[in-house]
Structure formats: structure tokens, C-alpha cells
Amino acid sequence: MPRDLNPFHTLYVTETARRNPEQFTQLFSPEILHGEVTSLFEPGNTIVQGSIGIGKTMLLTLFMPRIARASLQHGELLKHEGYPRFAVDINFSLAGFSTLGQRPLADSGDENRGLWSAVFGDLFNYYLVERILVNLRDLEGPEDLLAERLGAKITAAKLDEFARTLAKRQCWYDFLKNVESFESLQKAVSKRVAAYRGFLAWNRKRLPPALQRTKTEIGVPLGEIADCLEECGLFEKAGPLVVTVDQTEVLLRVDPQASGNSETSLGVVLCRTVNRALGSRDPRVSYKIASRPYALEQNLQVYGTGAALEQGRDYQLVDLDEIFRRHENEDEWFFKRFAEDVVQRRLRSVGWESLPPRLDELFAGEPSSGTGDSAGRRRRKRAPGPRLQPPGRLPASWSTYLSGLATHDLDDADRAVVWLHQISRRERAMPDFDKYVDEKQEPSSDNLPWRREWWRKERNEVLKFQVASQTQQRRVYAGWRMLLTVSGSSTYILLSILREAFDIFIRDRAGKERGGETPPSVISAATLSQAIRLAAKRALERVAHGPHGDTRHDFLLRLGTALRDALMSDPGISYPGWTGFSLSKAELSEAPDLRRFLEELSGFGDLVHLDHTTKEKDGLPREKWYLAPILCAHFEIPAIRTKEPYYTSAAEVANWRKRRTVIKLRRKDRNDSQSELFPG
């Protein structure tokens, strides 16, 4: 069975652009290109913010010439007047910027940082110029679709004229005064970049004096290039030069011994130097920058000035986490629409058009109990009655009623058990049976407490996990909607799960059918459950292998275990919201180290970070964190955010961070603020 038949084998759609450009255009979903995302293609600076794997790099790579060509050759991906554009990219990780600052340029800290800021700005410029010149050459070929679309009129003569015009601009401080041709321009620029690289690689003792005297201001030469391109007629249609910038967090790490975002950190200085380019609002150059959450908001200052970048004025923000996040109205959940398109495209790419048109038909729904209990019953004899253990010393009237109820509606019987636990704990006595059930064992009202819509809704998911735990089974994950929930609005996670699911399907089919190329008519709940568990296990393993992985993994392991213990040992499900925790903003502001830690976890997608509208009487602003839904699947806890999370303190969470500390969520007594959780 060819592995490639698994339509989800390749997780990164950009990788297909290299191997199979036509396939790339089939797989790429233009659904993403709506709303504020389209500001990427408008003139002006755009910052694309989001956690790892959300798609920031995918969006930036749309500007790369090979992607743009693939788009034009095999059916246009984007119909936007701002695309394609003549663009150049810099990825600080791959471009050799991680070793900046390792050599002192001056003795004093301030002077050293200032000099490095200037060196960085100059190297940034020349690196991009070098790549611009290569990209221009690329457009020189005949019958190039990209050149045609860009209105490029690139000839050798024009390139030489461009080079001579550019070299005369004052921004170079005469460094390029001897440039006579495009080739000599390329040589001079490459030589300068090589000199910097030689210095950064410790191949030379110091920077050549000529470099030191002719450093350019970050971004300025790029605007001059845009002018010269137009002046020399290299492009029919004028438009800003697009510069995509990725992995800016590399800059923050050039000084590993500096703490966090301190003002003395060279990494912070370099990030703020990039801000100088954005802050100049040069209309000739549009920067499109990928940023992880928090990295941006902590580094908006412009180095060397007292100013800070302003959203709306200096840049537009595209917050992918926010765009993909599920809000109250599920019909407006953008990720749902996007994911449907992505998956359908993948299925069509392997010729499986005959599949059910709707994904909620392809992915089988879950059994009513959500635990596969019918299979469990066949495997072992179960005593009559609800699956959950009722409270101790339950009056016979209730016990008989529950047994009867369980014979025709197990789920309802279990809900009744939960309610009984709740009331008995709150009231310290069993509820009066006669108030709720008549002598014929029928409900005395149409609205038994455990059947009320909101009561059920708030507890349904936790109930399923408790039932699974009690019956020693595993929660069944089934259905398209569940798949979206567990993916947590991450396309990467969604595709990871589907890769596993279709691998299972293909393996199972291979044994039964020749060739095994028949598409599935349905992906069973069993298959999807298994796939989700495998993907969840790998997601947690990936944490351990990632940056600061052991610390993150250790914390998540203990936190996940604690959340599960708290939920499973709450028979009344009084705290269904304890799938996450809440901290006050004020406390966090005084615990910067803790804040950085939580932000790092959120930035990596380990935790989901949200504002929290408190129910506390003090009304002070709070923030809350939840485990990423895929990790919830690993720990067998619901990926839900209902009711109130666990209210905690910075001191308590700081204590949680200590390795081998057992995390335990403390139930408060019924008179505290969280007593509002008890049902009315």
C-alpha cells in the first residue's frame, strides 16, 4: 500500500509546493484568506500573530516566488489585486542571525548594544538586498508566469541601469560608488554580507573599517530599491516591495544569559530595532511579520526613541489564534469552515471524490453513552442500576427508582446520581424523594433538576468521562464535531489526527481488499478514538522534545493528572469548569517569571490562554488557562470551558512549577464564592 495514498501523510502543505506544485494548489485552502487576513495583501505593515502550528509561516510563504509560481501555474489560489507581489523573505533562524551579539563590539554594555543594533540593521538590509537581486534575476527568464503577472520587464540592460541608479543613492554612504553593473552590484553586496558572516563566524578578528563607516539605517535602502525598480521601469505596475520576516523570536534568544525581556537584553534591542523599520511607515515597503503571542506586545518600543508602535497606525494585526478560536456562536466558528475545506481538498487530492459530501457523515457519531458501553456489557456482566456509584446511605426509595430508571435510560440514571451527590453534599441530607417522584415511580414534574437543559449541558462531558472511568472503559471520541473540538482550532493537530486515522483505516483495509484503494465510507468511532489517542500521545512527546521541553512536559503531566483527579473525584460534578485555572492579573503582574512561563506554554500551544470575566465579588480582572484540547484527550479530561475554572493564586501556581510537586486542586467549603456553582 503506497504510503502516499494517505491524504494526510504530509502535514505541511508548503512542503508539497516543493515536491509537487500542482498538488500544493489543490491542497491549499483559500478559505483562510478572508477578513483581516487579507490585510496581508494590502500595502502597509502586517503582523501575523499566533501560537506554533497555527499557520503563520504558511501565510508568509505565499509570497515566496516558488509558491506564487505554483499558484499561477496550477490554478490561482488567491484572487486579490495585491497578490502576487514582488517579495523577499528573511527567516532569522536560517539566515544566520542567531549568533549576533556573541562578540563584543565595545566594552560598555550600552555602547555594545547600540553598535550591535546598528550592525544588525545594516546586515538586515544587505541580506535582503542580496536576496532581492537574486529574485530579480529569477524573473528575467522568458514566459515566466510570475514575471508576467507582476508586470516585470526585466532585461540585462535594465538590470544594469537599475544597479547604477541604486548605487548612487545616499543611503549607502558611497559603499557602492564603484558599482557599474548588476553583476558588480551583486558582488559588492555579497561581499559585504560575507564580511559580516565571517565576523559572526569568528573567521576574522574585527569588522572591516569600511563596513563600520558605511552602515545603513534599517529599512531605508529597501525603500530606495522600491523607488529604483519603478524609476528604471523594471515593473509595469508599481507597488510596495513586500518583505516577509519570520522567526523574530530568534533575536530574543541571542543573549541567553539575559533575563526575560529586560531592557539590557541585546535580544530585546534587536527586536526593537526591527520596529524602527515598521515605525518609519515607509509606503514603498510593506513588512509582513510573523510573531508568536506575547513576543509582540512586550516589544513594541522603537529602539532609540521613546515611541512605541501603534496598532492601526504602524501595523495591522492578524491574530490567528483569535480568528480560529471558537466563540459562543458555533456557526461563526471560522476554523470549522476552514477545516472542512482543508480536509475535503485532501480527500479529493487522492481521488476520493465519492466520499460522503458532508464530513459529519464520514466521521461516525458517538454511541449514546459515549463510552461504548454496549460493548462493555457484552464483555462482562454488570449489576443493574446506574453506572456511577450513588451516594452512601441512599434511601431505598431512591435506590429502587434509580434501578428502574437505569433499565431504560442509563444516561438519565447516571445524571440523577450526580445530582443526588450534589444535593447531599450541599444540604448534608438526601433530597426528599416524594418531592421529585410520585408513587407510580414517575417524575412529579416535567422538569427534574437533572434533566434541565443547562444543568445537563454543563456536566455532560465530565459525566461521560466519569462513566468511562467507573466502567473501566475509555471515552469514545467520535464525529466530525468532536474532531474539531479536540484539534483546538489547530490545523496541524487536525491533520495529525487524520493522518493517524487514515493510517489505521488503510492498514485495516489492506488486509481485507486487494490494493486497499477504496475510500472509506465512514471512519468509525473506534478508529477516530484510536487516532486521537495516538495523536495526543505524540503531541505530549513532542513537548518533551521541544525547547525547554522537559520543564514544560513535567508541568503539563502533573497539571493534567491533577485536573483529571479533581474531575473524577467530584461525584456531584460541582466543579465542571475545573479543566483550567484562573489567576488575577494583578498578581501575575507581580510575578513576571511565572507570567513568562505561562506565556511560553501558551505560545507553544500547550495551554490556551483567555481573559476571564470573574465571578468573584471583588470583580478584579483575571486570566485563565486551559490545557490544549489535544492534551486533554491524553489525560482523559474534557476539552471544555464551562462554568468557572479553578481559582488559584500566583503563589500556588509557582509552587506547581516545582518538579515532583504533586498538584492538587483544593475544594473550598460551600460558603465561599464558588458555591455559586451549585445548581439553583
Binding site: 502535514l11 505541511y12 508548503t14 512542503e15 516543493r18 509561516t57 504558511m58 510563504t61 515566496m64 516558488r66 523573505d89 527567516n91 533562524s93 536560517l94 539566515a95 544566520g96 542567531s98 549568533t99 556573541q102 562578540r103 563584543p104 560575507a194 558572516r197 565571517g198 559572526l200 563566524a201 569568528w202 573567521n203 519570520d246 522567526q247 523570536e249 530568534v250 534568544r253 541567553p256 544569559q257 512527546e541 513532542r542 522534545h545 521541544g546 525547547p547 525547554h548 521541553g549 522537559d550 520543564t551 518538579r659 515532583r660
Partner: protein, 322 residues
């Protein structure tokens, strides 16, 4: 003929030819084997680094074990120099300059416990010194089965170029990874390359590691999001013969070929130190960028016991290898 072999066999032969004092640079760590070369070798002066990891639950135990190992070397003509794991390279440069104020010596660099970000940097600086009478790198294995079952290191930082090995020429079209027990952060590095550039990824697998280590290495291979696929993607190299690994690198990416001359491959040394030595020498010669995800903390029980010590001669008089 490539001058490498057991320390006890090779070094006397080098001394016969060099007739010059021997100086040693090494690293004292919690590992027993970090004391092997300093105790086996006769040298006139030694500089032993004591590398301080990031603070962790291991710090107290690591400090105790290092103190014990230091005691074993009392009386030897050794200077101990403490350095933070993430110390600026300039600190290492100045320590080296001071130590080699008189460079007419056979310099032995014991890479056994030296973190890669130090070892690679030291080797680059020392190979540049023309007046060295000779240069030899040594490496001691732990006793058979002596590696800890637990993870050897933790909390790697994000991938970055090693000091002295940043991108010097055009961006690479090939990435060569040497694999070992752990692949901390390697996925993130490879994802970056795959997203942005059209790169071929090749893997070097060390052999023989002996059981159970081969399982451990294969486990690390398959922990990758995209393990090697297709013929030619992975190649077995000697875990001990650094020159064999160097030849493998030259076969995968001939440094002087038209393809690689201006765009040498990127290297990622996640495997055994002798293979890392090969990568280091290749990178120095051809200007490859070297990427690594430096752990912040090392397991103080990384290994136990002292196994064989190996020596690799890189220069003697006016001859050099490879």
C-alpha cells in the same frame, strides 16, 4: 593511514615525533570518564573547564560529583576554570588565549565531557593556530552499558547555530543530521528548513552502539515527525572512527564540488562525539553552518565508569588530517 586509535597506543607515537610539551584542555563533569584522559595522559599543563548548567534539581548532586572528580586530579598541574554553559564565546576565547600563551606544544583537547558549543568553538580557534606543534582530540567512552537509561539531558533551547559556525556562504540545500539517543528540538529545526527552503535531509546513524543502544537510537529516529524515507536518506557510520564519519560526509556532500562549494550543507550533530568531531572538521574546512539545540541541564548520572579512550591526531608538524 589516519592517525587515530587507543590513546595509550597513539599518543606515545605522537610524542616521539613532536618532542614537545603536552598541554591538555578538557572538562571535568559529574561523569567518571571525564577524569580518564587527565589521569592517563602525562602533560605539562592542563586547563580543565567546569561547566555550570542552568540551576536544576540536579545541581547539588552534580556539584558533589564534580568535586569528587576534581579531588582525583589534585596535585596535577591543572587549572580549573568555571564557566556557565551559556557563557559568551569571548570568555572561552580569552581562557584559551591565556592558556596557549606559549603555543609550541602538542595540544590535546579532551572532548569527552565538553559541551558541543564549547568543543566546536575551541577546535575552530585552535586549528587556526599555526604554531601548534600538534593537535590531538581525545574521547573516552563510559564502561559498557554505562549510559543512563533516563534522558541524558533536558530542556534544550531552540535550535541555533553553534558559536563560530553561523552561516558563512549561501543558504544550504542539504542538511545532514547525525543521530543519537535524543533528538531534542531536531523536529523544530527540520521544520524550519522544510518550510522555507528546498532541502534534502540526510541522516547519519552511528554503529556499533551495541544493544540496548541501537534500539534507543532507532527510537529517536522514529520520534521525528518526519523520519528518514527512501534509499540514501540514512547512512551508517562508525560511532568511534571520526575519520570514517568524515569520509561519509565527503561522500554525501563533497565539499569542493560545484554544488556544495558555495552552499555547503548544514550540519546537525546530535550523535556521538566522534561523529560530531567529523562534522566539526568538515564545517571548519568547508564553512558549513552547524545547528544544535543545546540542552540547559545534563543528567549528573549521564554515564558511569570508564571505558576505552581514543585519540584522533589532527595535526603533527606540518601535516594535518583529514
Amino acid at each position: 593511514m589516519e592517525p587515530w586509535g587507543q590513546l595509550e597506543w597513539l599518543v606515545p607515537k605522537l610524542l616521539d615525533r613532536a618532542n614537545t610539551p603536552v598541554k591538555l584542555i578538557g572538562c571535568i563533569s559529574p561523569e567518571d570518564r571525564s577524569t580518564a584522559v587527565p589521569t592517563k595522559l602525562e602533560f605539562s599543563e592542563g586547563l580543565l573547564l567546569v561547566v555550570e548548567d542552568a540551576p536544576s534539581r540536579y545541581s547539588a548532586k552534580a556539584a558533589r560529583k564534580v568535586a569528587n572528580n576534581r579531588r582525583l586530579l589534585e596535585g596535577a598541574n591543572v587549572t580549573f576554570r568555571s564557566l556557565s554553559l551559556f557563557a559568551p564565546p569571548a570568555d572561552l576565547e580569552s581562557a584559551l588565549a591565556k592558556f596557549l600563551r606559549d603555543p609550541e606544544c602538542l595540544l590535546v583537547i579532551d572532548m569527552t565531557s565538553l559541551p558541543k558549543r564549547f568543543f566546536f568553538f575551541l577546535l575552530k580557534l585552535t586549528l587556526r593556530r599555526k604554531r601548534l606543534a600538534g593537535l590531538c582530540v581525545t574521547y573516552t567512552q563510559p564502561e559498557a552499558g554505562g549510559y543512563a537509561d533516563a534522558p541524558l539531558a533536558e530542556d534544550a533551547i531552540e535550535p541555533a547555530e553553534l558559536p563560530g559556525y553561523s552561516l558563512q556562504k549561501s543558504e544550504p540545500s542539504t542538511v545532514i543530521v547525525s543521530l543519537g539517543f535524543d533528538t531534542l528540538g531536531l523536529d523544530a529545526l527540520l521544520d524550519d528548513f522544510r518550510n522555507y527552503r528546498e532541502v534534502d535531509v540526510k541522516f547519519l546513524l552511528p554503529f556499533p552502539p551495541g544493544q540496548p543502544y541501537s534500539r534507543r537510537i532507532w527510537r529517536s529516529v522514529f520520534s521525528l515527525g518526519n523520519p528518514p524515507e527512501g534509499a540514501g536518506a540514512a547512512r551508517v557510520v562508525s560511532a568511534i572512527d571520526a575519520f570514517d564519519a568524515y569520509r561519509a560526509l565527503m561522500q554525501i556532500a563533497p565539499g569542493n564540488s560545484s554544488r556544495f562549494k558555495n552552499a555547503p550543507p548544514a550540519l546537525a550533530p546530535f550523535g556521538p562525539k566522534p561523529v560530531s568531531l567529523a562534522m566539526c572538521l568538515y564545517a571548519i574546512k568547508f564553512g558549513s553552518p552547524v545547528y544544535y539545540t543545546q540542552p540547559s541541564v545534563y543528567n549528573p548520572d549521564y554515564s558511569v565508569g570508564i571505558g576505552a579512550s581514543w585519540a584522533y591526531c589532527l595535526r603533527l608538524g606540518n601535516r594535518s588530517w583529514p
